[in-house]
Symmetry: D2
Subunit: 386 residues, 4 copies
């Protein structure tokens, strides 16, 4: 197989998981702008997600968020997904939208609230069993707003205890993916604020516990690809929540704010063996003002383009320049791949896979957007609260 053929083959295997909540309405604390045609239940979200997969061929799984995606019959939901050509991906827990969680969930000072939170996490594992999902993705809004509000160390103890109970419940082949975030919604401390904290907990829990890197959850100036390389080296990178940001956790389309950073991240993934391992590539985005389905298609394509560039890096030339200490040449080898226009290559890949080479155009002309606007009348549009 020629090198280009190998790149194409790799690209054909790429899978990006899309999040059910990205198909619903979202916004900032200032306003959620509703959009016409937005799904009203998890089944309709899967219908939309299936369209993304239909046109990209690269979005075969859909992450759920509990309780937003709570249904009576999870087996029926999973069957609906399969009928549409997709599968259920990670189960995302939510311990931040109940009034009880004002001061935290799994780290709350009150044991009763902690119990409630852990029970919710255990319910999520039940849903994994029911849907065949592999990954339990945990993000905690826990933290404090004011110095002194609660004891930092005690909260870590409570976190460790709660995680351990949930970890024990995991079945064969199931994983716990622990996400970290610098700030928001808590402003003074966050109980899992950085990769170091997530890593330390996962290390103690065991090999089923892995760290998730959300690309929008870092302090300014943080080198995310360093973290990716380090976690891969430690065998602790469970997956990504992809999105992009200019300032905080903006949750914009991945690759929109800093496409070069996305390329560097994907380069480290490829370099560290993460592309062919169990690393989960998930989107976690909010399309506050733009149309949702095409934004998600664009996002999947952005990941594909960054990956294609990463795969095109001439590893031999790079290693030689690095070994020789030739700073400019080593950088040039990397930039050569980045500066390549990989869109023609990806069009070929799609055509070879029986897809339309232009997913955005194909989606726009397929009539789905008009159809759902016309049909999804009445009911309650899905959003972060439902």
């Amino acid at each position: 197989m020629t090198e280009l053929a190998a790149v194409k083959a790799a690209l054909k295997t790429q899978a990006v998981e899309t999040p059910s909540w990205a198909y619903g309405n979202s916004g900032t604390r200032f306003k959620v702008f509703a959009q016409p045609g937005v799904p009203r239940d998890p089944f309709e979200k899967l219908d939309d997600a299936a369209k993304v997969h239909e046109f990209t061929g690269a979005a075969p799984t859909v992450a759920l968020h509990i309780p937003w995606d709570r249904v009576e019959d999870y087996a029926a939901l999973a069957a609906h997904a399969e009928k549409r050509g997709v599968r259920i991906g990670a189960i995302n827990s939510n311990t931040f939208q109940d009034d009880d969680y004002r001061l935290g969930s799994i780290c709350h000072p009150d044991a009763a609230v902690r119990r409630k939170a852990v029970d919710h996490l255990l319910e999520c594992v039940d849903i994994m069993d029911a849907t065949g999902s592999r990954d339990l993705k945990l993000w905690f809004a826990d933290g404090t707003n004011y110095p002194g509000q609660d004891d930092i160390r005690s909260r870590q103890d409570r976190l460790a205890e709660g995680l351990a109970e949930v970890y024990e419940r995991l079945g064969e082949g199931q994983r716990m993916l622990l996400e970290y975030k610098l700030f928001e919604p808590a402003f003074y401390t966050t109980d899992v604020p950085d990769w170091g904290t997530a890593y330390a907990h996962c290390l103690k829990l065991g090999e089923k516990a892995q760290v998730v890197v959300d690309t929008g959850h870092h302090a300014p100036g943080t080198n995310i690809e360093f973290i990716v390389a380090t976690l891969l080296r430690e065998g602790k990178l469970g997956g990504f929540d992809f999105n992009s940001r200019f300032y905080a956790d903006d949750d914009l389309m991945v690759g929109a704010a800093d496409p070069f950073q996305l390329f560097r991240i994907m380069y480290e993934v490829v370099r560290g063996g993460g592309f062919t391992s169990d690393v989960a590539f998930m989107l976690d985005q909010c399309h506050n003002i733009e149309a949702k389905i095409p934004a998600i298609i664009r996002s999947v394509m952005n990941v594909q383009e960054a990956t294609a560039k990463a795969l095109l890096v001439d590893g031999t030339a790079l290693a030689e320049a690095q070994a020789a200490g030739d700073v400019l040449e080593a950088n040039a080898v990397l930039m050569d791949a980045y500066n390549t226009d990989v869109r023609p290559l990806l069009r070929e890949v799609r055509e070879e896979s029986g897809l339309d080479p232009e997913p955005m155009k194909a989606y726009r002309s397929c009539g789905w957007a008009e159809k759902v606007v016309a049909e999804r009348i009445g009911g309650q549009q899905a959003g972060w609260g439902a």
Copy 2:
């Protein structure tokens, strides 16, 4: 008058404006936690604000937010305020919560939306006439989320045009206060992102247009007191929106995150003549998890303490050390004031003004919190949307 007497006299004149919306519910995009006893209409907000003034003696005015505080009869609202011992302060416009404003308001690409936004601002001036308010405070959520989404320069043109029309409408003794903000809710560009932009517009509008400094609206590392000193030197500091932040626009209690910064800001205010001029000292905070009225009392006290320390700086000693280039001594003079415990002094000031020396305790024991929890049953609690 001794120097200490002068400090006390100054402190007795200090007035901090509290915002009506801080008495209602607020939150993050993740969750708004409702609190019992929260006001259900602008009249009840004024009742709460009057309690803050009753116990601090330093919060005589209340800012309104339109449409959240829209009433049939503004004269009646103003009369209600006066009956409670307070007055109506700045009128804050809102051009970010209508579906039409998805892509902006006064900077929107569509002239019809701009017209609607300007009309709202003109309505706010009507309300100023009706309530006797001096200041129109303008903060725009306008901006873009993605590069290319709209034309940066055209948006500035639209902004200038809209502001000019509103400026013309201002009556005798009325002012336009233009607020800037780095980011949120827009993530790529904000149309008034920094003091320079606000200053440039105000300069062209005329002397009734002044800049507002919200202490949470800057990039990390920004020296806010430098901006304060510069705007005072330029005669363009209209007022403050006080709050505090650890990361972004956290809207925590002023002085809670960095009390030393608040002191430095108040020092520049005093140094630059802002304390005895028309600079408006307003709070703009969100008490997402803490009790609202006591949090506002604490905030007013924090401003008082920072001001007391600023007033205590030995100006002569400072000027001497600065002139001599004695870095350590000049810094020591400033720190000496900061390290002073001014709480006893403020207790004296309150007692001399006929107030309880301990506003927090006095409020906690007055029964108001219990009363409103018991009485404010039913109806719709006030929040950012109402």
Copy 3:
């Protein structure tokens, strides 16, 4: 002329000024690593700069830094430049390396130090007269490290006074370019920390005073292209100091850290008419660990590539999408230009201009690097101190 021909024609006019100091040694506070072959005087720096122009055809002028480039006979220096095919560009002042400047220069509390600083600036104008330089570029290291150290407002007064004296001295066709910088080497306040401060001073000085944007001199999260668009709208953008950064003022090769940002900046330059006006495009970089001449060639090429992409933006399609409020399509139009590989186009442009299409390779094989290493033996290598 076809559109592509117009783009090529524009690219052929592009001129990037290279800084004499980038050819000398530089480093961090931790270490300056000397490189073999580095120039030992301003004449040798010009020799190197001429090589950059020879191979790129786009670097016709060279900025000087006084006193690092002080010579007996400036006319002789200018003549040397011309003989090599380049010209003298901006004159950069230096008021930060004399022991007298420990507490500042033009803002120093001591009038004698201020006098010395202003005299140095006037000397720089003399050198402009002698070399035919158009631009006086002013960057001040002035500021304070500790709160209280000096009076913020008085320092502004001193700054204004000193600038006014120098401004008066400017001759016909000469300009003063005022640069701002967030921090470093001062850590608490910087006397010209942001574009607003520079703008306010330039406004008062008059139309010969213009603002310089150094792309590394902003707080994290600052939208630089917004500043560019705003300054162009105000008629106050004098030029750029190009470089790139991951964290602070890293002074890396322009386009190396965030090529998408450089493209967005160049797009606003083109959009705002800055490309065909008097805006000066200067590099200000430190090649601490990489070979200097090729790093500068690469930097010039990076500016060319970003410019080519900016020129390729389909303005009609963009304006239509923006007017229609089509967020995704407007962004897509911009990204389409960014994602284009413009290297073939630039190779054509070079060939049509009689240049080697591959400047880096051409330089590497021309023997200059080996020649200067062999010949520049003995003497004192140029650096920031000489």
Copy 4:
């Protein structure tokens, strides 16, 4: 023992290590301003350090930096220290100032350079043996400036290998303290950029390896006290490099930029048992423009004041408020301690310890500054390079 007596007793035990290099000249990449009277060799640095201890009673040890403090006879140096009333503290390695280290030291792509770096570290352990020092403090300037320059993961492998060899060499009672730093002097990647990386390496090395927190080495918005609490919980906090910063690694006097943050850090130290354990409290500062010895005295006092406030926190009241979820009260308990003026208490502590209650004044009037200015004529002043 009353509670206040316990606080006083604790304060009397406090020891802050001062760094030999802070007594020498330092600066930024722009300029090192020399100061009169600065030491010319390690013996004179110890003389100065002894003065700090003489007047504070709280600075009994002095950190050395190799090779800046290299001497023929380390036993003689240790004896000199003891004669002056102080002892040798941590040995700090330096693998960033040799030309060989342009691309790194222990992570360099060339094995010969790595060998040289490791040999230097082993030499430092020899010096520990000779001086009786307990701690080897390792900070590496290693990193890269440009994407692609070197392989992130291979550099981690080399780091681990080098550290392991040095760790093996440690004797009984000796420790390796590994410091992390976000950026500078490397701008793209740093090989130990955050506490997570340092922690992961220390965990593998063993219990003699501990993490050092330099308070200036974090991204903006990082909650340092969270890291402190977490490392104490993990048993991996080896010590501090104290200083303060407004923007990057400014190395200002500790407590000068954000005294509230220093208090919060010391509170977590006390809370987590770090005050009475082996945690080393070291200064690492640069007094670029201020007089060095008094700046260090001030710094020691700032640590004492923050510690006194931390010790004064009413733990019972705090725990009660935290358990009750009373956000405002819990915060108030903490702030009550912070707002206390502890300077009278510390004056008492000093008097009870036989010291002058005002160290700054006592030092200023003791004549040492004048004496060293007069006597230290000729020779080469110590600085970062010597």
